[in-house]
Point group: C2
Chain length 108, copies 2
């Protein structure tokens, strides 16, 4: 996985308004207008933030007539999970080593 892909996700979430949009979408998919109204944002800004979230793979768009319904999308979160697990692994291994050490102690 390219660093650029990771960065796109981190940069997308690292903005308070986009962070709030993701949180709101946890309660279900919503149109641009609904998101803007719910959070008190202007429509153009909301569209721009959604575009960034979309490019990061964190949301997907469903077109219905002249409405655009935004849903949370798995891909972006998976990217984050992949990145994270390569670091988390480090402490998991530590626990494993401790575990192995304790077992050896037991045996002696």
């Amino acid at each position: 996985m390219s660093d650029a892909k990771y960065m796109r996700v981190f940069q997308a979430v690292a903005d308070e308004k986009r962070f709030e949009i993701l949180k709101l979408l946890q309660s279900g998919a919503k149109t641009v207008g609904e998101i803007a109204d719910s959070l008190g944002y202007l429509q153009p800004q909301t569209s721009k933030h959604l575009k960034i979230l979309h490019q990061a793979g964190l949301v997907r768009v469903e077109a219905v007539a002249n409405k655009r319904i935004y849903h949370l999308e798995k891909d972006g979160f998976t990217v984050l999970g992949d990145w994270l697990s390569s670091y988390i692994q480090r402490w998991e291994d530590q626990l494993d080593r401790l575990d192995a050490y304790l077992k050896e102690e037991e045996e002696s």
Copy 2:
């Protein structure tokens, strides 16, 4: 967990140089000078970036004489994992391993 805490971690990682510093530290703890040299950054910038990573709980400092050795720190990654798991739950099947790890953390 407060949104501010999540934001500090996302904003910390959402910078290419800080991203590279974290990656470098995976190969082991290093002094400011070693990090700056390895990545071709100037020392003052390196210190500033490390400060932001530290405030996010992603690194810790070990003081040895007039040197400062920076290590990866679990806390910041756990914060990210907590945030992620609240979203990942909706897609359950994937990232089982990370999810299982985080649940163990919760219990301890």
